[in-house]
Point group: C2
Chain length 213, copies 2
DNA sequence: GTGCAAATTTGCACGGAGTGCAACAATGTT
DNA sequence: AACATTGTTGCACTCCGTGCAAATTTGCAC
């Protein structure tokens, strides 16, 4: 009965602190000594936990480095996209992804360390993308809803909606990777949100005139 | 002086045979017992080599499963694409990728086993995509050439060409993944080449009218 | 604050992954 | 046949990752 007073409880707060300590130790050490120059024993020593506990939080050194996958934005933002009456399927996707990736309310400190490492180690970037599998499927379902909203006659053709939403999701992720790369290059400190808008806009510019050639 | 008689030499032929034996053993065992139910010791036993030798051929169980990255098609095919005067940058990319992926003259036997596993284990598919990093960069350079051929005024703007070629490469890979997924679903035994054409065509259909909405 | 239940941390033991090294074997060359 | 080159193997070693059970910490009710 006396719960929910102090917002989260000691246990939860301690867990988050430990998690952050591990991530911070891992990111710092790898930035220092390179991905292969760091062992889980070292990370655990810096984070003041036992090596066994490390594996209670992360499945591998890499998972501690790449961070969590994003989540879909709030339902209102999603349905605003689904029911939008102007623009193509791609318009608005950039903003949706921006909201999703900003949802990671992680420390700026961790965020920047991580960005540097993901840029330096393509394998880590690939793992991060792989970790987004579930998010990718969520996004595809949203896109499928939008496709049907745009053209109600598609309700009858599940296969077509599936195939088309998959293709659009893949392409959108391509634009997202592009935006992320430019953001990580960090020319002028442009926020990721802006890079996402730029990439999706450029996508429109490149592809818009396709049929007209 | 007496070299090059028997085409390749005993050594080379033996190496290829061993490589294939390892791949075959690995794919078969994993198809049987699942990815985590197979050890490198087992694979080595079936392939009749020592576990140590396994690592002379592959860096990990996974690398033995996912296969090699494709290579660019012959120079004529590439420059035909670069200097094409009709269609958008995307037209012809499907065919180019089809030639590249077919370049893997691997046995059909291995190819089908591998396809099944890549479909069953998304992590393996992700690793295969990650292994294509070098190929992706090659493709990007080709695309950059095409961009400049289409609009010579771009020669002056390296940054724009780089950014745009990256974006297009990402999008093209998205279409490729889409095609591969549909091919792996194997409805009607449609060849990968045809799926690639379908995906790139659908991409054009979806994106062509973007500016007109 | 005492006591009990639930969650968390830790040590330990174990098998698999991956690498350097040096001995040995097979192949290529003259 | 002799020599050089390349490939194979066993060995030792470190690190990864997991199951299990003991010890510790926290939540909660009284």
């Amino acid at each position: 009965m006396t719960m929910d007073v102090g917002r989260a409880g000691l246990r939860e707060r301690k867990r988050l602190a430990t998690r952050r300590a591990i991530e911070f130790a891992a990111l710092g050490l790898v930035a220092d000594k390179g991905l292969d120059g760091v062992t889980i024993d070292e990370i655990s020593r810096i984070a003041n936990i036992s090596p066994r506990t490390f594996f209670n939080y992360f499945a591998s050194k890499e998972s501690a480095l790449v961070g969590d996958a994003p989540e879909l934005p709030p339902a209102e933002a999603v349905s605003a996209y689904v029911n939008a009456t102007s623009g193509s399927v791609f318009d608005g996707l950039g903003a949706l992804l921006a909201n999703a990736t900003e949802g990671e309310s992680n420390d700026t400190e961790l965020l920047l360390l991580r960005r540097g490492l993901l840029k330096e180690y393509p394998q880590l970037f690939a793992m991060r993308m792989a970790a987004m599998r579930a998010f990718e499927e969520q996004l595809r379902e949203v896109i499928a809803l939008r496709l049907v909203a745009d053209d109600p006659s598609l309700v009858a053709d599940d296969d077509l909606v599936l195939s088309r939403s998959r293709l659009i999701t893949h392409v959108a992720f391509g634009a997202m990777k592009h935006a992320w790369t430019r953001w990580a290059d960090n020319e002028g400190g442009v926020p990721l949100r802006d890079r996402l808008k730029e990439s999706f806009d450029e996508l429109g510019r490149i592809l818009g005139p396709m049929g007209a050639v």
